[in-house]
Amino acid sequence: MCFKAKRLHRLALGPVLSLLGLTSRLAWSDDTKVNQINMPVSVTEVGASIYNLHMTIFWICVVIGVLVFGVMFYSIFAHRKSRGVTPSNFHESTTVEIAWTVVPFLILLVMAVPATTTLINVYDTTDADMDILITGYQWKWKYEYLDEAGENLTFFSNLSTSQEEIYNREAKGEHYLLEVDEPVVVPVNSKVRLLITANDVIHSWWVPELAVKRDAIPGFINETWFRAEREGIYRGQCAELCGRDHGFMPIVVNVVSQQKYTDWLSDKQAEAAEIKALMAQTFTLDDLVKRGKDVYARDCQLCHGANGEGGIGKAIAGSSIATGPVATHLDVGIYGVSGTSMQSFGKQLNDVDMAAVITYQRNAFGNNMGDMVQPLDVFNHKQGQ
């Protein structure tokens, strides 16, 4: 009830506060986004000019609207039959027609100028400081920091909001649906060129505060860029309908100082090296099951259920795949099943995680197979195909 009262209170105040926010940009602080009614003021130069363009057209429309509706409502008030007026009979004037053709045309001409210059700026992807290849998947984003030496840093970014919050079994967190497990991290004041594509259907990468929205199209690579001028965390979402979980693939961009960025990058590289080392190791069944449980929760549970009971995907508990030959199980995990929602996870999971999750599935939910898959097995399986 308390929640409801607060909501109603906000409901009443929100629009009033918002109106103030619209006329004065300063009135709207960064962290109060509740009931925001206007485009966020971007932290990029291009975004600022887009915002200015938006507000310019908005005010032109307001002025035209006030004039046009003013005339109309005056007429509705003054020229009504109940006031005993007699109707005139005038019904054409070429002069007037020409005037209201030419004047709007001139206004549009004036509006086209800033629009054109801004557009040219958006399209200028030259001289970038760094390149990130973004690939849309159903329903997550892959980020690949392109490196001239060929040591690309690659990771997937998944929604980190729990199903409990989505299905209202737990209170919703502050960044409900706009939080991920691995944010994109970029240095402040650097020109970041984005190369955007998709693996399956069309997605669209949109972060309002960076003023970037570009479609991710399978088989084609789109280019755009941004240079964030202020540190902070900027959140966005997929903007193109891409199937069932279109609403559940957010984007989080963490803009940090150059120093922090370098630290983050070396941490990430160390992490990658660690995984590489792990790939050569042999694990015990317990280790694999333990690691596999986490992987399962992140990548499998949504479709196959917390207890392997199935849902959108087939049941894993007692399934012929999880209790059948290991090679078939690896095939399904690595290559997916075409024509179904079972994706290929071969590129999304490293060999350690793949080995762990397959082992987990074969030993959980009552599938007590007792066998296990080592990272090297996954590697060899991939080579063999």
Binding site: F58, P87, G219, Q237, L241
Partner: protein, 520 residues
């Protein structure tokens, strides 16, 4: 020669074998209203799910089926057939023709519709569910990744196209050939003009839509790769083809609405329409421009900058003839002697809200700002202002305006006014806040949203329920008028009404203008 008026056939045969333009018009109108309620029910499900953050009522997959079916049914089942119904009823009566030029084809083009929508709606019960890829059905979500029901959807679109093309050919043939003596081109009522131009648009673009869905069919079943990059195709090609149909399509919906408003405002302003000639030229210009602006729906696909600039400039131009229309309507009101019966209220509502939708349209036409608006709720707000407050408001006004002529009985004016005000408030409550959440960053077609959008979404849902509920009042008003409304005997019905349709008896007899009138 003795005039030998025969009445309609009795019973069900009258409707199944109908060739009379009034009967067919009536069937179109009732059918489209039924579809309006069905599409509206889907909208209610959407808004109920969006009432609060979190998933409460439906699963995301079903939500996508609802948004898709809502769009398809409203565009192809409700709005388009309603205007075809109006055209059937009014065009022959407005140009002094005894009927439509091709009555049997007219029958066919109507009777294709009910089975088609039955087919489309039946996909909801198929394995894998109904189409869930949005009414714009972008490939490859609608091809490689589509549910099996997509094939039924493709067949339904083919049938709809067939029906629309036949309906359009009929209108074109009627206007060319059956105008009464003296009914020259520049004397035709604007509703006839706008429909005449619309019919050509339909004939031009429905085959393009058919082409798009045929390519999908080939990709799905016959191993082609029109829309798959892996086989040498291009998913963006789909969008170009679709919007080459889709943009004229939105004018197909709105031009007849312009025609309706241009009939109603002069009646209640008791003053001739201002700038008749310029209205005709503006309609023709809008129709022409509609063919060269399609890619403004696709600014974010990564077109070359020259393409973006071309489509941006061309789109801006549309504001000019559209502006001319709005100015003409307002000048028609100026120094008239206005009264505000229900049809007039809906038309004034139309002018105000359609103009707001036009303003957001100009904003959207700016490619750089569109990078922020595109696929957000701002777009949802924009096209509902032009589709609902534009097309549906004018259609509602049209029903109130001509209903007394059709059935010889007067609707309840107080109930009509209440319907208008509830609609007006409900509509704005539903769609105005969507501008805000869209600008603030809420994407469209999502079943759940971040907490900061909660309040406006709740308002929006409340508004949608109010607007949806007001249609029940409309239905009640129409039925009670037909059954027990106060009889009207005056041919003119409205004091300020002009035109041939007001010269025939009220209610309009089964056959009108067996002898062509002479227009001075």
């Amino acid at each position: 020669m003795g005039e030998h008026h025969h009445g309609p056939a009795k019973g069900l045969k009258r409707w199944i074998f109908a060739t009379n333009h009034k009967d067919i018009g009536t069937m179109y109108l009732w059918f489209s209203f039924a579809m309006f309620l069905l599409g509206g029910a889907f909208a209610m499900i959407i808004r109920a799910e969006l009432f609060q953050p979190g998933l409460q009522l439906v699963e995301p997959g079903f939500f996508n089926q609802m948004t898709t079916m809502h769009g398809l049914i409203m565009v192809f089942g409700a709005i388009m057939p309603s205007f075809v119904g109006l055209a059937n009823w009014m065009i022959p009566m407005m140009i002094g023709a005894p009927d439509m030029a091709l009555p049997r084809m007219n029958n066919l083009s109507f009777w294709i519709l009910p089975p088609t929508f039955l087919l489309l709606a039946s996909t909801l019960f198929m394995e894998g569910g109904a189409p869930a890829f949005g009414w714009t059905f972008y490939a490859p979500l609608s091809t490689t990744y589509a549910p099996p029901s997509v094939t039924f959807f493709i067949f339904a679109v083919h049938l709809l196209g067939l029906s629309s093309i036949m309906g359009s050919i009929n209108i074109v043939a009627t206007v060319w050939n059956l105008r009464a003596p003296g009914m020259t081109w520049m004397k035709m009522p604007l509703f006839v003009w706008t429909w005449f131009i619309t019919a050509y648009l339909l004939i031009a673009v429905m085959p393009v839509l058919a082409g798009a869905v045929t390519m999908m069919l080939m990709d799905i079943h016959f191993g082609t790769s029109f829309f798959s990059a892996a086989g040498g195709g291009d998913p963006v090609l789909f969008q170009h083809v679709f919007w080459f149909f889709g943009h004229p399509e939105v004018y197909i919906i709105i031009l007849p609405a312009f025609g309706v408003v241009s009939q109603i405002i002069p009646t209640f302003a008791r003053k001739p329409l201002f700038g008749y000639d310029s209205m005709v030229y503006a309609t023709a210009s809008i129709a022409f421009l509609s063919f060269i602006v399609w890619a403004h729906h696709m600014y974010t696909v990564g077109m070359p900058i020259a393409g973006e600039l071309f489509f941006m400039y061309a789109t801006l131009l549309i504001a000019v003839p559209t502006g001319v229309k709005v100015f003409n309507w307002i000048t028609t009101m100026w120094r008239g002697a206005m009264t505000f019966e229900t049809p007039m209220l809906f038309c004034i509502g139309f002018v105000v809200l359609f103009t707001l939708g036009g303003f957001t349209g100009v904003m959207l036409s700016m490619a750089p700002s569109d990078f922020q608006y595109h696929d957000s709720y701002f777009v949802v707000a924009h096209f509902h202002y032009v589709m609902v407050a534009g097309a549906v408001f004018s259609m509602t006004g049209a029903v109130y305006y001509w209903l007394p002529k059709w059935c010889g009985r007067m609707y309840s004016e107080p109930m009509g006014k209440i319907h208008f005000w509830i609609s007006f408030v409900g509509f704005n409550l539903a769609f105005f806040p969507q501008h805000f959440v869209g600008l603030a960053g809420m994407p469209r077609r999502i079943p759940d949203y971040a907490s900061q959008f909660a309040d406006f979404n709740m308002l929006s849902s409340v508004g949608a329920f109010i607007y949806g509920g007001s249609q029940i009042l409309f239905l009640y008003n129409v039925i009670s008028t037909i059954v027990a409304g106060k009889p009207v005997s005056d041919d003119k019905v409205w004091e300020g009404a002009e035109g041939l349709e007001w010269t025939v008896a009220t209610p309009a007899p089964f056959h009108t203008f067996a002898v062509p009138p002479r227009v001075k």
